[in-house]
């Protein structure tokens, strides 16, 4: 039976169309990745910046009063074009624009002995008088009323005029300050704390476990069971780890350190358990490629097993351990469900290890799960998280290549 030309052509056509279908299915992943990038950059790209990283989350909005002054201060640094110094109040006012592009005047410097270091909140009175507040640097000054309404300065006059008017008065009856919130400084610091604390706990335990399994353990049932049990951790969903944090680590930390409820410490302990299999696995990978001869050579030179482990084996395994650490950091940055249980979901500006806080990822969850989801902020944080995770993964990939290329 001979296949005719026509049949061959038809078959080729069919082949090509199937190939087209396969290609179009394969591009779904590419499409998803590209759309995620486009979406978060389009929505949050404008918000990402130094300002977002260092700003507080809570708004600061208050009127303050300052007692009489008769000071004459000096400013040691040089002033930029848009900065104006008041030698009477020892502050620098600066013309600038807010995130929406409106002209505003901000307090960019408050001197060590400035009267503005000692201000009272006009709106909160307790028995002993007004409540003292700290003026955050870079809060915007809306208006200043001096000396029983003799002098009034508005931000629309610009910083130079405001300073001139301020210099005429001797006491501030009311100064309206606004500091726009919505920043992520607290969550950023929490994330960094969490990374540090988690690694301090997880890396030694993980590396020691990997060394034991690979170097010391006999091939018996106990070793096999322990390996299986460590492997099983990888399959546990992160929300179950969160329950573990709530059931084991929060009570544990409450009992030992005296916290109440979730804290960054209980979060770090929870994350450490999540990271253990990652670190053990990548350390093991690195240990496996070290040839057996090196160990016997070290032992035959008179080193004991401890010396062999710490001076010969461990240094060769460092790229593998680094890989595990990098992947682990990525996991900490991206983790959300477990941390909602183990730390909490309330955004804080003042980060304390023994208290609740949010990491960047949980910050997104909190910002999105309210009645009015904040897409701009969520996308902006997503850009930061995604950037960090992708860079970490790329470095880890390069390290892995180097580990597998090592030739002894």
């Amino acid at each position: 039976m001979i296949i005719s030309d026509r049949k061959l052509k038809a078959r080729r056509r069919k082949d090509n169309s199937v190939k087209g279908i396969i290609l179009s299915f394969s591009s779904v992943g590419l499409l998803v990745f590209a759309s995620i990038l486009i979406y978060i950059f389009k929505t949050g790209g404008g918000l990402v910046g130094y300002d977002l990283l260092i700003s507080d989350y809570q708004d600061f909005n208050t009127d303050v009063i300052v007692n009489e002054v008769s000071g004459d201060f000096t400013y040691s640094s040089t002033l930029d074009d848009d900065e104006y110094y008041s030698n009477k109040w020892d502050v620098v006012l600066t013309d600038t624009k807010d995130r929406e592009g409106k002209d505003i005047v901000v307090i960019s410097y408050i001197g060590e002995n400035s009267p503005l270091r000692d201000v009272s909140d006009l709106n909160s009175i307790v028995d002993s008088g007004f409540v003292r507040v700290n003026i955050p640097i870079n809060s915007s000054v809306d208006s200043i009323i001096l000396d029983d309404y003799d002098f009034i300065a508005f931000s629309k006059f610009g910083a130079e005029t405001m300073v001139d008017i301020m210099n005429m008065g001797t006491s501030i009856d009311s100064m309206t300050l606004v500091k726009e919130g919505g920043g992520i400084r607290g969550s950023l610091i929490t994330t960094l704390y969490l990374i540090g604390l988690t690694l301090v706990i997880a890396v030694p335990i993980g590396v020691f476990s990997a060394i034991y399994i690979n170097e010391y353990a006999r091939k018996n049932k106990l070793t096999k069971y322990m390996k299986t049990m460590i492997d099983m951790l990888t399959g546990v969903p992160s929300i179950i780890f969160g329950l573990m944090g709530a059931a084991i680590f929060i009570p544990f930390v409450n009992g030992t350190i005296g916290t109440s409820g979730g804290s960054i410490i209980s979060g770090a302990l929870t994350m450490a358990v999540i990271l253990l299999p990652v670190i053990i696995k990548s350390t093991e990978e690195a240990l496996k490629v070290i040839p057996f001869d090196i160990r016997t050579a070290s032992l035959s030179l008179g080193a004991n097993q401890t010396q062999t482990t710490f001076k010969v084996i461990l240094p060769s395994a460092i790229p593998g351990i680094m890989t595990g650490i990098l992947l682990g950091i990525g996991r900490i940055i991206g983790e959300s469900a477990a941390l909602i249980y183990a730390i909490g979901a309330s955004i804080k500006d003042k980060v304390i290890l023994k208290e609740r806080s949010t990491t960047l990822a949980v910050h997104i969850w909190t910002a999105m799960s309210g009645d009015r989801p904040n897409f701009e902020l969520a996308s902006a944080i997503s850009i930061i998280i995604l950037g960090a995770v992708i860079i970490l993964n790329i470095i880890a990939k390069i390290l892995v290549k180097r580990v597998s290329k090592v030739s002894y």
Partner: protein, 318 residues
């Protein structure tokens, strides 16, 4: 004698041996600790999860049968009633995951095939990198994307088709988000197993006159099916346990089975996260019971799938 003793004495050997013993014990205890966490997790969640059914510290106990078959999360007021139910959550979770698999399985297998056999070297590297990057995107970002892009699209589609939809928060949105998240998991494993199919099979098929695509679809994929199946099992595990992204797009309904793709839904995991910030007492503790149910569902799904896989594998051998 003095020179030798500077280097090796009985004392120094003893010290070295002692050092070895101590270090080995430290390593051993680290390993025991690492291995014990899985047991601790199971024990603690078991104890905490069973408490609402038996403990006397609550106003009243939750009825186990009602809990497992209930089609309403809570019948009554929070803190007063203990009439919780998760039956509808179990079913809804399974429906959501099954639909997500309808999306991710074909995409993943064909992507795996494309990367393993069809794409030229440079294209292959690009696709592989993208799949790896997709795998590394944290679930919260999939949630943001789902809420910001997919939900509005679904809302518009629902409008065109004449369905009610709650801002696009729906069963189908949740399934699409979960599908996107499981694509990299299944793709990586499918690609590996397709690539490791014996070359002889491929060459044999081509020599018999089958076209390249016929070979790929009818020889390579069936030959790699146990590996692909393992990838699907992993993907199901990830989809069942996914929490934050699902909680953002599901709509978190309180009761009822959902089969309409444009209707809001809720899963075991989304339920566990809902209202966590402002809750205490039984309403908090019941989450451990939901977690316990989630673990059982995952374990059961694994067992069932492994049995199926064995059957499929055996057929292959004959």
């Amino acid at each position: 004698m003095a020179m030798i003793s500077k280097y090796v004495t009985k004392e120094s050997i003893r010290r070295k041996n002692l050092q070895d013993k101590i270090v080995k014990n430290i390593f051993f205890s680290s390993t025991i600790l690492s291995a014990s966490f899985i047991i601790l997790i199971v024990i603690f969640i078991l104890v905490k999860g069973i408490a609402p059914f038996v403990s006397s510290k609550y106003i009243s106990n939750v009825n186990l049968f009602d809990f497992l078959t209930g089609i309403k999360w809570l019948d009554g007021a929070t803190g007063i009633s203990t009439d919780y139910g998760v039956g509808f959550l179990i079913i809804n979770t399974i429906i959501v995951v099954l639909i997500s698999l309808l999306i991710s399985i074909p995409v993943s297998i064909l992507t795996g095939l494309f990367i393993a056999k069809i794409a030229p070297k440079r294209v292959r590297e690009i696709f592989r990198t993208v799949v790896e990057l997709l795998a590394s995107i944290p679930s919260i970002i999939y949630g943001v994307f789902g809420l910001g892009v997919i939900a509005p699209v679904i809302m518009n589609i629902a409008e065109v088709l004449g369905f009610q939809s709650s801002g696009g928060l729906s069963l189908i949105t949740t399934s699409i988000v979960l599908g996107m998240m499981t694509i990299p998991t299944i793709t990586v494993i499918s690609e590996n197993s397709i690539r490791s199919v014996d070359k002889i099979l491929e060459e044999g098929s081509l020599a018999l006159g089958a076209s390249p695509t016929q070979t790929q679809l009818k020889v390579l994929i069936p030959a790699a099916k146990s590996g692909i199946f393992a990838g699907i099992i992993l993907g199901i595990g990830r989809a069942l346990g996914e929490a934050t992204a699902v909680s953002m797009v599901s709509g978190n309904r309180f009761s009822g089975l959902v089969f309409n793709p444009f209707d809001t839904t809720s899963t075991l995991t989304s339920r566990m996260l809902l209202g966590i910030k402002e809750t205490t007492g039984i309403d908090y503790d019941i989450r451990f019971s939901v977690g316990l149910v989630l673990m059982l569902v995952i374990i059961l799904a694994n067992i069932i799938l492994k049995v199926i896989m064995k059957k499929v594998g055996n057929l292959d051998d004959n």
